[in-house]
């Protein structure tokens, strides 16, 4: 890193941002950029990976490498990037529909693989880009264009699922609290292994129930003496739905996927050259 200090992740002034005024994505975008900067990361060594949705546009507004892929597929792409070059810091960032709905199978299996990536999920409990339909995390009874009488299926609980799958790092934040969110994101980014951060945020246009006030009233911070390495306790906490815990619910240091596959940091795949002598020897083995 040059001595000029922290890197700026801001896009050029005047970049058009496609979010609605007062969207919860704005403060989260700022917190993410500040966190990356404060951690001393360099935009050229960072890749932000996203799918589709309003939250998935976040990497568009960050001055860093970007893979803005398909709906639900941020995690597979992120894993591929990390395996090809483990020197890169890889952050998969998208919304609740993208990560928990369309990409649900990938979430499950990325947790199992445990690559060293950070997964930030904007959880506003609604579909924004497609205009107000229920998301996997929408509350029971939430009225929306497709279920006019209200959602009839229980919401997906990403925290409980992640703990059940023994995810390496499981946390939840509320964007109403910038400082705490930044502190949680920092720990997630510094964590070796898969780190899930579910971030509560309001959708000011389509979700009139889960507002800033609602999130404040329905959450609390885990106490200082809470032990995030106790999986049973973490699962119990993750299952609380009346008032939901914020902070680091669960941590478990596990072998990371890159190591398990024997991937070396000194030869990212783009530097790898074919050893033609070895190939000739391999061919000869079929004689």
């Amino acid at each position: 890193m040059p001595e000029t200090g922290k890197k700026n992740f801001d896009m050029p002034h005047g970049t058009d941002i496609a979010w609605c005024p007062a969207c919860g994505n704005f403060p989260l975008l700022n917190v993410v950029k500040q966190t990356l900067s404060e951690l001393g990361l360099d935009p050229k060594d960072l890749v932000l990976v996203s799918g589709i949705g309003q939250a998935a546009k976040t990497p568009q507004y960050v001055n860093a490498n970007m893979f803005n892929g398909l709906h639900g597929r941020a995690l597979p792409a992120a894993v591929g990037i990390k395996l090809a070059n483990r020197n890169l810091t890889v952050v998969a960032e998208s919304g609740d529909g993208d990560m928990y709905g369309e990409g649900g199978n990938h979430l499950t299996h990325t947790i199992r693989r445990n690559p060293d990536i950070t997964n930030i999920v904007h959880n506003n409990m609604i579909y924004g880009l497609t205009k107000g339909q229920a998301s996997p995390t929408s509350s029971l009874g939430l009225r929306n264009p497709i279920q006019p009488n209200g959602v009839v299926v229980d919401p997906f609980n990403p925290m409980a699922v992640a703990v059940a799958l023994d995810a390496s790092f499981v946390a939840r934040a509320n964007i109403g609290d910038i400082l705490q969110t930044k502190a949680i994101l920092k720990q997630a980014l510094e964590w070796k292994g898969y780190a899930l951060v579910d971030v509560f945020q309001p959708c000011v246009v389509f979700n009139k129930v889960n507002t800033y006030e609602w999130f404040k009233e329905h959450t609390y911070y885990l106490p200082d003496d809470y032990d995030p390495t106790d999986r049973q306790a973490a699962f119990a906490k993750a299952c609380e739905t009346e008032k939901m815990p914020l902070g680091i619910l669960y941590k478990h240091e596990r072998p990371i996927y890159e190591d398990e596959l024997g991937i070396k940091a000194d030869t990212p795949l783009y530097r790898q050259e074919l050893d033609t002598e070895k190939l000739e020897a391999l061919m000869k083995s079929f004689v």
Binding site: T15, A18, P43, K44, D45, V47, V49, I52, K57, P59, Q60, N63, A64, N65, M66, F67, N68, G69, L70, R73, L75, P76, A77, A78, V79, G80, I81, L83, A84, N85, N87, L88, N105, H106, T108, H109, L261, I263, T267, P268, L269, Y270, R271, Q272, E273, L274, D275, T276, K278, L279, E280, L282, M283, K284, F286, V287
Partner: protein, 568 residues
């Protein structure tokens, strides 16, 4: 008296799990070491035990590498084989089997009671029956017993000295029996043997494509197992380690292709291997590769569909799938090799094409191609170090810089001072999302214009049998190369000339001249004639006849010979 000077077809049949594959493996290796020119193909059922599977082993004086229906010797390892293969047998077929197991034996014109199990039991275990069977065949052929024994020593070395010795004992019993039978039945084998064949590589289609991938610089594969596409994944898992190939078994095909694209974006030379049904799930990834201009090689090992279809049989019906896969318009290339040599060359080329043009590239094979085994000479393989088409980025790097040829220098994250943004949305030169009609038009133009350069670069088809002077062009693609070659050779008509395509899309514009003034017959393993349709679409030619087959079996030499005779 039966004599075989030019061609011998031996079919081994048995239930799944009975060891037919082991017999094939040993037999093929020993025959090659003995200097025979060999070819094997197989058909099997979608089950792990039971059913009726068979392998055809051909020995020939010319390089015949195609399926014949004719069976000269049938080795029936269990009772169902004769019924399963009866329509391929004739009065001349000699059936070797155990009388008590083959209920049809009294009615068979040439049945040789071959006590494989009895011999195996004498050695101590019925499991040795497979080795006895190989021994019988080699005895009939009058092969070198020492070569056989040496191979058995290698093959069973891991299992210990006792297993090796027992196998050799079983081999001797079979061999002695075979030698006697050849004498009693007056069988004479005069097939040529040549030292040069002993030095050939004995490989199947899976291996050819796997070697081609490594030769093309492949260093990443993520896939979900699906027959017959799994073999390439398995090959790279087994052999790719020392070449730094990263192998991931994905949770589904959607993940596989998105992961491979992520890896490719970061500088890997990535591929996926699947079959048509698995590729159905990957189509969104094709479209993504198209707009983000990220190279990827997609291997589709074709099998008969729709849906689950015939999981272990063969067909060439996914050409249209590859041709039209993914929403929106974007360029792609499709290769379809017909021999192991072509498999290595085309697979290696596929990686170069994908990287050079920053596009998705297909490798279309099928079960018949993948499971066929033959000898190839090492000198037929040209190896060179793959060229990487990536650049170190400068601080002002823009991933989709508009250029004359539509190819923007491809930077990757982490190499250089630049930022690399790729976007599934329409984007400007920096990769940033846009809804500008003007930029959209420029980007469409930029992406599509690569197609004409790709067409000029496209592999020209191979001409066979005096093609230039022939009145009728008989066209094949993919796995039909050898059966076309052999059938035309057998018909020996000056009117017919073969033209084989190992790249089916885009088609080199020079092909139009090649077809000029000729009637066109297209041979393909599907119901509609998908490649014939493509020739019409691309070249505006007229197709006189489509020779099609979609039973799940490959074309046999005999059926093409019969058909070609009508035009000769």
């Amino acid at each position: 008296m039966r004599h075989f000077y030019n061609d011998l077809s031996i079919v081994l049949g048995g239930a799944a799990g009975q060891g037919v594959q082991t017999v094939e493996a040993i037999l093929m290796a020993v025959l090659k070491r003995e200097g025979y020119q060999v070819f094997a193909c197989k058909e099997y059922m979608s089950r792990v035990r039971g059913g009726s599977n068979s392998t055809e082993v051909r020995l020939s004086s010319k390089k015949h590498r195609s399926y014949v229906r004719r069976i000269d010797f049938l080795f029936a390892m269990d009772g169902n084989v004769v019924a399963h293969l009866s329509d391929r047998m004739s009065d001349k077929t000699i059936v070797f089997g155990e009388r008590e197991r083959i209920k049809e034996s009294p009615d068979l014109p040439h049945f040789v009671d071959t006590p494989m199990t009895k011999f195996a039991n004498e050695v101590g275990n019925p499991i040795f029956a497979n080795t006895v069977a190989v021994g019988v065949i080699l005895g009939i052929l009058g092969a070198e017993e020492t070569v056989f024994h040496a191979y058995l020593r290698e093959f069973f070395a891991r299992k210990g000295e006792e297993v090796v010795e027992k196998n050799i004992e079983a081999a001797k019993k079979g061999f002695r029996f075979g030698k006697n039978i050849a004498y009693q039945e007056d069988i004479e084998i005069g097939l040529p043997r040549d030292e040069k064949y002993t030095k050939e590589l004995l490989i199947d289609g899976h291996t050819a494509l796997g070697l081609g991938a490594i030769a093309g610089g492949c260093d990443f594969i993520s896939s979900y197992p699906m027959s017959p596409g799994t073999g390439v994944l398995t090959f790279l898992a087994e052999k790719g380690g020392e070449f730094g190939v990263v192998v991931d078994q994905a949770e589904d095909e959607i993940s596989a292709i998105n992961m491979a694209l992520g890896a490719s974006y970061a500088g890997a030379r990535a591929m996926v291997s699947t079959s048509g049904g698995g590729f159905d799930l990957m189509q969104e990834g094709m479209s993504l590769a198209g707009i983000i201009e990220t190279p990827i090689v997609v291997h589709i090992g074709m099998r008969p569909g729709p849906a689950t279809g015939l999981p272990t049989k063969t067909e060439q019906a996914d050409l249209n799938l590859a041709l039209y896969a993914g929403h929106g318009e974007f360029p792609r290339a499709i290769y379809a090799p017909g021999t192991p040599e072509e498999g290595i060359a085309m697979m290696s080329r596929a990686f170069d094409t994908a990287d050079r043009y920053q596009i998705p590239v297909f490798m279309l094979s099928d079960q018949y191609f993948l499971d066929s085994l033959s000898g190839i000479s090492e000198s037929s393989i040209a190896l060179s170090r793959p060229k990487k088409h990536i650049v170190e980025t400068g601080a002002d790097y823009a991933r989709y810089r508009l250029t004359k040829d539509g190819i923007s220098p491809r930077g990757i994250p982490g190499w250089g001072q630049g930022i690399v943004k790729v976007d599934s949305d329409e984007h400007d030169e920096t990769g940033h999302i846009t809804e500008s009609y003007e930029i959209r038009e420029k980007m469409m133009e930029k992406r599509m214009k690569r197609l004409s350069a790709m067409a000029k670069d496209a592999v020209m088809p191979t001409e066979m049998d005096n093609y230039a002077d022939a009145e009728i062009a008989v066209v094949s693609w993919g796995s039909n190369r050898s059966v076309l070659d052999e059938s035309l050779g057998a018909v020996r008509s000056k009117k017919l000339g073969g033209l084989h395509f190992a790249q089916v899309y885009p088609i080199n514009p020079k092909v139009k001249d090649l077809l000029k003034g000729k009637k066109i017959i297209v041979v393909e393993n599907n119901h509609r004639g998908q490649f014939a349709d493509l020739l019409v679409r691309e070249l505006g030619v007229k197709i006189s006849k489509r020779i099609l087959k979609s039973t799940g079996e490959p074309f046999a030499v005999e059926e093409l010979v019969d058909t070609f005779k009508q035009y000769a």
